[in-house]
Amino acid sequence: MKKRRGSQQNTKNWSLVLGVVLVSAVLLFVVIGLFWTPYNPTAISVALKNKPPSPAHPFGTDNMGRDVLSRVMDGASTTFLISLVTVAIGLAAGTVIGALTGYYGGVVDELLMRLNDTLTSFPSILLALVLVSVIGTGKYNIILALGIIFIPSFARVVRSEYIVQKELDYVRNARLLGAGNLRIMFVHILPNTKPILLSTITIGLNNAILAEAGMSYLSLGVQPPDASLGRMLSEAQAYLMTAPWTALAPGLMIVFTVLGFSLISENLR
């Protein structure tokens, strides 16, 4: 009997709706930013330096007189691109590794999982720093570095799911029908990992956004004059006392995005 308490059901619906609204608002904002921004996000103007919010510049201007709203619209799309590709890399590689190790087990599983343990025993941002210092800074290197860092978490989740699923009778049945190992792994079992993968993806997106912000904040990610949410926060830091609005817009953007994804992932579980 699958029955839930009524009030629980309502809370769930409510938070799911809020999550979807937040994420779609942010997405809409980013999509508009791809084609149109109120001002040129990199246009410098000495006259407009650190101006507080006004009708012409709703979120004010930064230390080089650039419009904060325009920069957030532009920077958010960069941040989104980085986090989406990062998660995609982690998802693709992690799923393949997790499927192989979970399905076959044995020595390969032991070796890969111990390597996995080693990776997860360091703070991921630290590892990303090491990778970046080896392959260099910049937007695409950040994507690569963060992508690699994200592989273990996906691999682990997928592996544990495969260990459970491979013992179920439907897998035996597929084998009796003549399905090969690869077909069983990726056609029969993979769709059954969808629920757990979806929630891992949303958590991953959150972490990627925060990681990008962190890396750019440390000036290792997106390079000036390009904007990203983390880059903007980093630049705003020096003027936090005199022009706090320069930090407000990118900060709120990150909060809304992360909150939206979290709410959705809560409901997918």
Partner: protein, 531 residues
């Protein structure tokens, strides 16, 4: 029972009066699962509640104890408990605190699954003792003495060592005895046993039931026994209530119910459960050709390696068995869980490569139907996709041809074409098992290995699946290797029967012969345990 025998007026202990139990749905609606359930149990009596899964038998009893989960509650009627001092308690109106005093002290309950009803991280002793801690304030030594005595009474030996053991070190039967000891520790007036023996092997079932009966006779404990198994009810209870779809269909003394059932539903239950259902006769006699020849066949399991890179140890599960299956024959294998019968079937199907000995099959890919219809169908795929998968793998036919073949097979197993696009999650257990059978037939293999195909189904659904199996066997000229722990099912379906015990075949012969004149001790025990 006691009341009438002793000539005293029967004294009520628990009475359900028009009880309707509901669970909340969306938007403040209640989904009502039982309607107007009324019955009573007298002091010292053993009452049975029979019905199929979902008939509301467990829910009614959980309602009495206030243990309904998911916000369920009694929406209509009353449940009255008479503690014996002239007063009466309306159980459905008690607060949680008042109920706590009733539970354990006056009423206790044991559940079906002895694996999950014990806490895996507490020792047996600590768990049983907790009952005393909650309801009594005896000193530590006295508590221990009482627990040990109770465990002994529940038929457990070596209680001193047992006290320190954890649940996973015990067998299913022992765990159920511990559960009974826990339930009986405070000498409750009423013991509710919800399918206490369903998860156990037949030979252990009988012992657990005898234990319940002992407590009823010695301590005058009133017992309510919930079961889908009429045999279990008959061996313990004097009176029974038959439930179907949330309503009481019939109630009365067990002998009367069994001899002269009034309602159609009771008759059907009886026919299916007592093996009175006729032997499902088949016209085609087994052919001369062999579908499978098995000689000195052993199957091994790899134990988990203890260290990284350490060689794994092999354990022999099936020990050198030999038998034949003729074309068009149904051969049954009986035995209790862990005797190796499933392992044998899986190895024959090629799912376990660790075998020794000789196996000759007439077909290339013997198919299997598994016990649990919920696990054997991939929940992420549609029925149509599942049925056409073997054809896709073998690159047979075009898309349309494959679809046509799948639809034809659906009709053959008694399902409409509309099931083609549905997902397994929307099907009942019986319907799923039909799909599983259809999948096994898609490759047109002649040998089908059936691993307890009806054990997880309700008796009336069992009946339909058995009839379907016999019909398909005749139509396609199939051979079945039919694995079951249920002697009745074996008797009705199989031409020959093999009895397995600890990995060996201890007896074999035609079904009639084995049932009429069992040779091996274990076969005799199996036959005694059935009705």
């Amino acid at each position: 029972m006691s009341g009438e025998k002793n000539g005293k007026a029967a004294e009520r202990l628990l009475e359900l009066d028009g009880v309707a139990v509901g669970f909340p749905m969306r938007r403040h609606e209640m989904s009502v699962v039982t309607h107007g359930v009324s019955f009573h149990v007298d002091r010292g009596e053993a009452l049975g509640i029979v019905g199929e899964s979902g008939s509301g038998k467990s829910v009614s009893m959980l309602a009495a104890l206030g243990l309904l989960g998911n916000g369920g509650r009694v929406v209509e009627g009353s449940i009255r408990f008479y503690p014996g001092d002239g007063s009466s308690l309306e159980l459905n109106h008690l607060t949680e605190k008042e109920l706590c005093a009733v539970r354990g002290d006056d009423i206790s309950m044991i559940f079906q699954e002895p694996m999950t009803s014990l806490n895996p991280v507490m020792t047996i002793g600590a768990q049983v003792e907790e009952m005393l801690l909650l309801h009594d304030d005896a000193p530590k030594e006295a508590r221990r003495e009482r627990v040990l005595a109770m465990l002994g009474e529940a038929g457990l030996s070596g209680v001193e060592e047992l006290y320190e053991k954890y649940p996973h070190e015990l067998s299913g039967g022992m765990r159920q005895r511990v559960m009974i000891a826990m339930a009986m520790l405070l000498r409750p007036r009423l013991l509710i046993a919800d399918e206490p023996t369903t998860a156990l092997d037949v030979t252990i079932q009988a012992k657990i039931l005898a234990l319940l009966k002992k407590f009823q006779e010695e301590y005058g404990t009133t017992i309510i026994l919930i079961s889908h198994d009429l045999g279990v009810i008959r061996s313990v209870c004097s009176r029974a209530v038959v439930m179907c779809a949330g309503e009481v269909v019939e109630q009365g003394r067990v002998e009367e119910l069994f001899e002269h059932p009034q309602q159609e539903y009771t008759k059907r239950l009886l026919a299916a459960a007592l093996g009175k259902g006729s032997v499902l006769q088949r016209e085609s006699a087994p052919g001369e050709q062999m579908a499978a020849v098995v000689r000195d066949y052993s199957v091994y399991y790899e134990e988990r390696a203890k260290k990284l890179f350490a060689a794994r140890e092999k354990r022999e599960v099936v020990k050198g068995v030999s038998f034949d299956v003729r074309e068009g024959e149904i051969v049954g294998i009986v035995g209790e869980s862990g005797c190796g019968k499933s392992t044998l079937a899986k190895a024959m199907a090629g799912l376990n490569p660790l075998t020794a000995g000789e196996l000759t099959l007439a077909c290339s890919r013997p198919q299997m139907v598994f016990q649990d219809p919920y696990g054997s169908l991939n929940p992420a795929k549609t029925i149509g996709w599942l049925l056409t998968e073997p054809l896709r793998i073998g690159r047979v036919g075009t898309r349309e041809e494959r679809r046509a073949r799948a639809c034809e097979m659906l009709r053959k197993v008694g399902l409409e074409e509309e099931y083609y696009d549905r997902y397994p999650g929307t099907l009942s257990g019986g319907q799923r098992q039909r799909v599983a059978i259809a999948m096994a037939l898609m490759l047109r293999q002649k040998l089908i290995l059936l691993d307890e195909p009806v054990s997880a189904l309700d008796v009336t659904v069992q009946e339909q699946i058995l009839i379907l199996l016999v019909g398909l066997q005749k139509e396609f000229g199939l051979s079945y290797l039919f694995i079951s722990h249920d002697m009745n099912v074996i008797h009705r379906l199989c031409d020959r029967v093999l009895v397995m015990y600890r990995g060996e075949i201890v007896e074999s012969g035609s079904t009639d012969e084995v049932f009429r004149n069992p040779q091996h001790e274990y076969t005799k025990k199996l036959l005694e345990a059935r009705l």
